[in-house]
Symmetry: D3
Subunit: 229 residues, 6 copies
């Protein structure tokens, strides 16, 4: 029987100059376990090493779209790290666009990739991948606990949503002032994609334990994005 | 001497089941003339034929990201129409992503392509292409006269901006209710790209006469998007 | 157990500006059913939309080989329509040449593609694909009832062959005056391929009912092309 | 100033197990000289080594379309031999299809390639290439002196045409019995292509001296194929 | 259950101008039999036809790295001969680099390829492929009986090693004078690869009988290369 | 007039987690200056970031050939950094194999790439590139002052060769014990390539000043590798 597909976006924060093999091994083990129940498509972010290459390239004069491509390339290096820990269970390449992802699906293997399109966050990319692969759910394992009603870094009383309708989420993001250097807008794309495809989504803080609980045990963590009829 | 580059987005409305060769020839002639002064990168929309294929595919059950890919494919067919009228002056293929566009630039020829990334309007794609190619200006030849302070189809008193700051433009778009079937959000991406790269942009109604006046004669038409310091 | 392969050429007349999703859905359902018994390779023609793009491009000055490439591109759009209705049962890309078809076969999925080589009709292409894939039979679902001894459009007494030897068929086609705009010669290629590979072939009028009867129920329709020893 | 393009098909008989470097050097020198006046696109046949690989593969069970692909691959090896003698004057790859040929043209270099499409002789391929590249003339340097009114190998009184209309040529070929192992039909494709594009063509016996005379000195050799209005 | 992988390098001496289909059929039958127990990756050498093309190209002025590429191309033609005899049991393309080999593995089919990287013998390439595919053993079916303590062509008392440690083997090769035209160094690469990956390797004289005995029956032939702890 | 080509291998030590944009800018400026006199092909090493990814991947279980591919990918990221500082003077992609390098040459632009083949050091790759591009000289800008008669790290009396014959150099390297983790053997390949193509080579310590002096001013630094007749 063909397994259901799910998309998991892994925060780039897992990948930095101090990343240890033991951490990655735990993630690889978890992905292996998930692969017994689903055909997971994992999307890795670029993280600090991406930002390192991006910053240097920007100083050297590379244009913003070119910088996006550099960041994508680092996210694929990160994807390769996880592939290294999964051997033959994993599709042996990191797909570079949606067409390659469709072809990779045919293998019935676990798929691990990075960003694919410039001008989009890996969140948006992950949502598009979820659409294209017919994934039953999109798990966004990120750096924060979920979606708050205000910025928890500045407002100690910020409240975490247990669930939020995608339309309200879009409103909130649209009205917020975008800060230079953040990819806030790009998350608008992911929300629009979630909305147009009525894609069940959950946003929660990335950790091996959390992912296992949310993905495999069905335990509630973070914020569920709901789609009103 | 190397020519300056400019990006011109051509509204998909040029391409429909009733399109005549004479219209396309006029556009081809215009592009040829522009090619004497600049290295233009032309981005064609999908138009009605794209919507025809998209609607059929949607009824057959294709996912939204897959529909985007279908629309992109039609926009490349449209791009090929214009290439047909330009012969050796034109790069002989329609680049499929930013990397291919960079390689095409090396030829010093006119470049004509369609959409390149799913999840993005051809507006957004054109802005990314402008970034990547170091274009000095982005000309968005569209179906409307320019940017209005409200919807001119419903509000007869809607006022056309002569110029508008990109930040205000983003605010306006963000607050507007998105209507099903329109790619409003995607235009947010193009605005964000315009903002991050401080890309001079003008939005005006597409016609051979208008494009010639705006691009070649420097005559003011439509709305100039300005970037405040 | 590996399924036997068959090649079905679908007349481009299925694809026009007035094509309805319901028609395509019926074809998709039929292909699904065929896929339970065989590994079908479906080849779609370009039809009216191809001719529309070809005519415009010719007026704009595109060379004949370039026009062939344009027609091929539209036939692939048409192939994508059918893929839209088949989901994971179908190979997710439309192979672009025989090498890609060989690779697609490995998936054991239904394969749908369009024309692949300029200078050849989709009939000829389909026959080559039948050779390369080791198909046990080539079903040419076309716009006419089968092969006649003279042109049924001008001769009301034209007789439909029940079966005809490939050599006689080649003779008939060779001696007939070729009319501008028809791909008569190209059908000569398909006949030559049928001859060299002794490929069992049947030519019949395309309809869901006919294809089902001929392919699945083994009922006789149209003209069987036989290969004399 | 951009040079006019011409297509020269080089008989595969130049390439065999006894081919000497000196012969190839003469051809390379000639091509170099031609390259000073035109942008030549040279198409090499497969010759004896192609037949050697084809015969072995057929005995091993490869299908006919697969054999075509094998022959094409050998013709590209042959093309590489000539490239070896031309260094930087030559495009460094042998294009694999018409799209790659269009891209190669942009380099303004001499282009050398082999067969590109299965189911077609290199004659037909060369004619398609002539169409696609806008070549002003197609020079078919072959194993025979030109086109005869009957087979000169069996009829000592066979007469060589000085010139022949393409329509008459098609009639002759169509009525002739095709012999196993010869690519007669495929030459029908090349004639049909010549006809549809009104492509000036000359067929003559391949030798360094003849090619130089016909291509560079405008001296008459072999048979001119004319296109009646 | 997934089969274990093994890599077999087939001496190019199998492929020459006098190669008979019967010989190749025997090899194809053997590979088929091996494919029932393992997923074999077969790497074919270029042999005499490669040297023929290389010699001609060198005389024409092609650089050494270019000659390597020519030789690789011929080895792929040779690989295609064996594929011709294996039909659907075999992956239908000859992978061109390690990434393509990884993708081919996913098919679970027999893989046959030729050389992949210039500057490396097919021995070295085979060892790299063994690494990349996680092969349990590397069978080097070559022109000699195995590894001798001195050159058996000049020293009649040369002794064949039954087994030899990879380090000693490296020492021997390093100290030997390299003769023009031989790829001695390149075998150093294969030894270094064998060493770094502790890859069990056996070198023996290529024949259908020997390969069957060594690979399938576990009978000792030639020289086992051992890796000391 | 076409510029002469040279190959410069840039030590990977330039690229680390503490690399500053100012350093890279100096290199970019230097390359620009070199590009006024030559068509340089620059090959960047992987350096510390490559080793970081390789070490993590090895701990996760990736095979050695796979690790080579990871290192190559990082070296291309490094190459992109330099491209960022050169804009349109530079070929916009980092070629992935010798065929892509040949195609890039046609642009007449500066070419910057990283490693291309697994199982080879970037030294060996650079030498192959020098062969394939017909470079007049290979400049190996490395971490040491040049070639010594013994290891300068352990022998304070180690003497730097002013020049050394390639054969002696090969002997020295062959007899030296290879240390784990160093790519000594791979430098044997580069020496063999230098020998077979009689490629003038100089090995010297990498710095902007040194490269400028050696490449542009013809000042002697490090060790010249000479090729005896």
């Amino acid at each position: 029987m063909v397994k259901q597909r799910i998309v998991i976006k892994l925060s780039g924060s897992l990948f930095g100059f101090d990343t240890q093999a033991t951490q990655l091994k735990e993630y690889a083990q978890l992905i292996k376990k998930i692969g017994e129940h689903y055909q997971p498509i994992i999307v890795t972010g670029g993280g600090k090493i991406a930002r390192f290459y991006i910053n240097l390239s920007r100083e050297l004069g590379l244009d913003e779209a070119g910088l996006d491509l550099t960041g994508i390339m680092v996210s694929h290096l990160n994807a390769r790290l996880l592939i290294s820990g999964l051997g033959d269970l994993c599709y042996p390449a990191t797909p570079k666009n949606l067409e390659e992802i469709s072809l990779a699906l045919v293998s019935d293997k676990i798929i691990i990739t990075g960003g694919i399109y410039p001008g989009q966050s890996t969140n948006a990319t992950s949502a598009l991948i979820a659409e294209r692969t017919g994934a039953k759910k999109f798990f966004n394992a990120t750096d924060v606990e979920g979606i708050y009603d205000s910025d928890p870094r500045t407002n100690p009383k910020a409240m975490l949503f247990d669930s939020i309708d995608v339309k309200r989420c879009i409103d909130m993001l649209s009205n917020e002032n975008s800060m230079a250097g953040t990819y806030d807008l790009m998350d608008l794309i992911s929300l629009k994609v979630i909305e147009r495809s009525r894609l069940p989504t959950v946003v929660f803080k990335s950790s091996v334990e959390n992912i296992e609980k949310v993905v495999l045990d069905g335990i509630r963590r973070g914020t569920e994005i709901t789609i009103s009829s």
